[in-house]
Symmetry: C3
Subunit: 264 residues, 3 copies
């Protein structure tokens, strides 16, 4: 019972996701389908990459991740299937998988999808999710080898991920994602931030907000107060206990966050 996850920006109102599932189950009735999310903001590759990277590590080896956030559908952008980190990945070559694969590309095997025998008989210009990526994922789940789908390639299109800056006394990053609770997730990786702080106390600044500590849990702060914490996905995030930090501070992706080291 192979697991195929689905991530798209198609929403759940229309027939698009269901059509993909019908195609998959028609080819492999034994596939276990799991929705990652279909509520990625339309054509927001960064948000899709973030959700995919947040969920994929918790799935077992061999899981096939089918992801379609694809503003370039119908253009010359490549279609990919890959194996990385013990799992499989199918979707457009536009950076969507970058965060999930991470920087160690040494375990990456990747092909460009060119073999029409694994597509639907007629491929539309507008819906590769249904006509190309879904049948490829289904054939992968049936045991077709990666090399059957097309020629190997080794230059995945990167995601333009904004890298934080760590200076001697000051670091700066930005909000890259706002979750459903209004938590502001930044690009300051928890591990890198802790090493950089080296035990010193941080002073944080984001819009009108000033904070002098990093908490371990939302429950440390009284209701409706702001806090900084190292979130469940491994990045510094700014939250509002039992409330929405995004609404409180009126900021979203791109807002700058600054951290200063202060002596203990």
């Amino acid at each position: 019972m192979p697991i195929i996850t689905l991530l798209t920006d198609f929403g759940t109102q229309d027939h698009y996701v269901a059509a993909m599932k019908g195609i998959i189950l028609g080819l492999n009735p034994h596939a276990t389908l799991v929705d990652l999310s279909h509520d990625i903001p339309p054509q927001d590759i960064m948000a899709g990459a973030f959700v995919l990277a947040g969920a994929a590590p918790y799935f077992p080896p061999g899981t096939i991740h089918l992801a379609v956030v694809d503003p370039g559908v119908g253009s010359a952008r490549r279609a990919l299937a890959a194996r990385s980190r013990g799992q499989y990945w199918v979707g457009p070559d536009n950076g969507l998988f970058s965060l999930a694969w991470g920087s160690q590309a040494d375990d990456l095997a990747m092909v460009s999808l060119t073999e029409p025998a694994y597509f639907r008989p007629s491929v539309s210009d507008t819906f590769h999710g249904r006509d190309l990526f879904a049948p490829v994922a289904a054939h992968l789940s049936l045991g077709v080898a990666l090399a059957q789908f097309g020629p190997g390639v080794s230059d995945p299109t990167p995601l333009p991920f904004p890298e934080p800056e760590f200076g001697p006394a000051r670091a700066s990053g930005q909000v890259i994602f706002v979750d459903r609770f209004g938590n502001l997730v930044t690009n300051l990786k928890a591990s890198a931030l802790l090493i950089w702080l080296g035990g010193q106390v941080p002073r944080l600044r984001l819009a009108s907000l000033r904070l002098n500590q990093i908490c371990h849990t939302y429950a440390e702060a009284p209701p409706q107060t702001m806090l900084a914490l190292l979130g469940s996905h491994g990045y510094l995030e700014i939250a509002c206990a039992q409330g929405s930090a995004a609404r409180r501070l009126r900021v979203g992706p791109g807002a700058v966050i600054e951290v200063e080291k202060t002596e203990l």
Copy 2:
């Protein structure tokens, strides 16, 4: 592992859909449940019919489609189970299945659901999805023959689908559906439109929009520009590349679209 799809206007906030799934899995633990959509606008039979027709053809033969958009629940409207196009259909008799079944009704076998042995012991007046349609779909998936559920009928209630008009030099239709991307789907069927055009160039008019060509893909137009294309479901649609045509033109279902033929 029979597939049962579910389409409703119940949303995903409440317990309604889950109650139906519990009933089905209690009767047939081996059913594979697939959500078509539960975000059909409340009581919008046309939208439900459109999503169902868009998704159903991609499911394998034998799939059971359980669909409940049912403003007449508790009234005298009939409850139906049917076989058409090699698949099964369960829901209210209000036109919801019309687009999926299409005009060729010669392969249609249909019964009125009157046999209470296949319902829940107590049927509420307000929730036939749970008390009547879900158990009937589950029993169908267990192999109960269609004729067991009630007497055959042959006059399904039609959906009031607005037919487009094709004149010698001018055709007119209307927007019948707006998808999650704000694409405006019209009732101008792609195949009929192409035959009518006979290779001549179309001139399109919708609200303030004027277009002189039909594209093959969203990627043909620069970002944020409007385009017309033959969409993945087989109708002419008006879109905005990487944007929302509905928001740009401020129109929705019912808006009139006109097409003129012009010499090459």
Copy 3:
């Protein structure tokens, strides 16, 4: 094929729910996962309790209900697993299960989750759904006995459910839940209300609304008119036929409803 249902306030936009499903399927690939709802308003334990109580009775015996609406995550609140009404329940000890379990606690067996062998190797302070509750539910589905997860406890934290008042001639309650259709569900239990009325005619008052009867179905009232009925979950509800009572009356949870008995 054990059934595990999932109810959270995590929404479907982010990776949170998918991460829980990945953990479960990694431990038990044979689990059948069913979403109850992930659109519980953030940290609204009452709404979560209501949806859970509305759906759970329709699932077969042995079903495991994994529910996480957990404003106290990371604080000293207990984590629970329990057996009640022939089903299993896993989640925070904050009243979330109260309505589903009901008042007859005699069939309740409950443990406090303290055995880390059944958690993920590292448990975050912020995401017990993924690190603690999901693996416990998976291990339960694999047949681990309740007593293995921790010591028995017998004092579940109650939900502050507002009880209605039944006087000799007048009863009063309040709106406790608004569903997706805008139906206003009150805390007046249908069975208790009917006994109290004893065949007499009710006169209802909610905000500007006055009604003199209780209907059996939404179809009894003309479109866009208000009605009272005994809803599918067993409580008195105020609805607007083919419309939204919440939007019409501009009321929500907490709004007071009064019922007077009048002679036949």
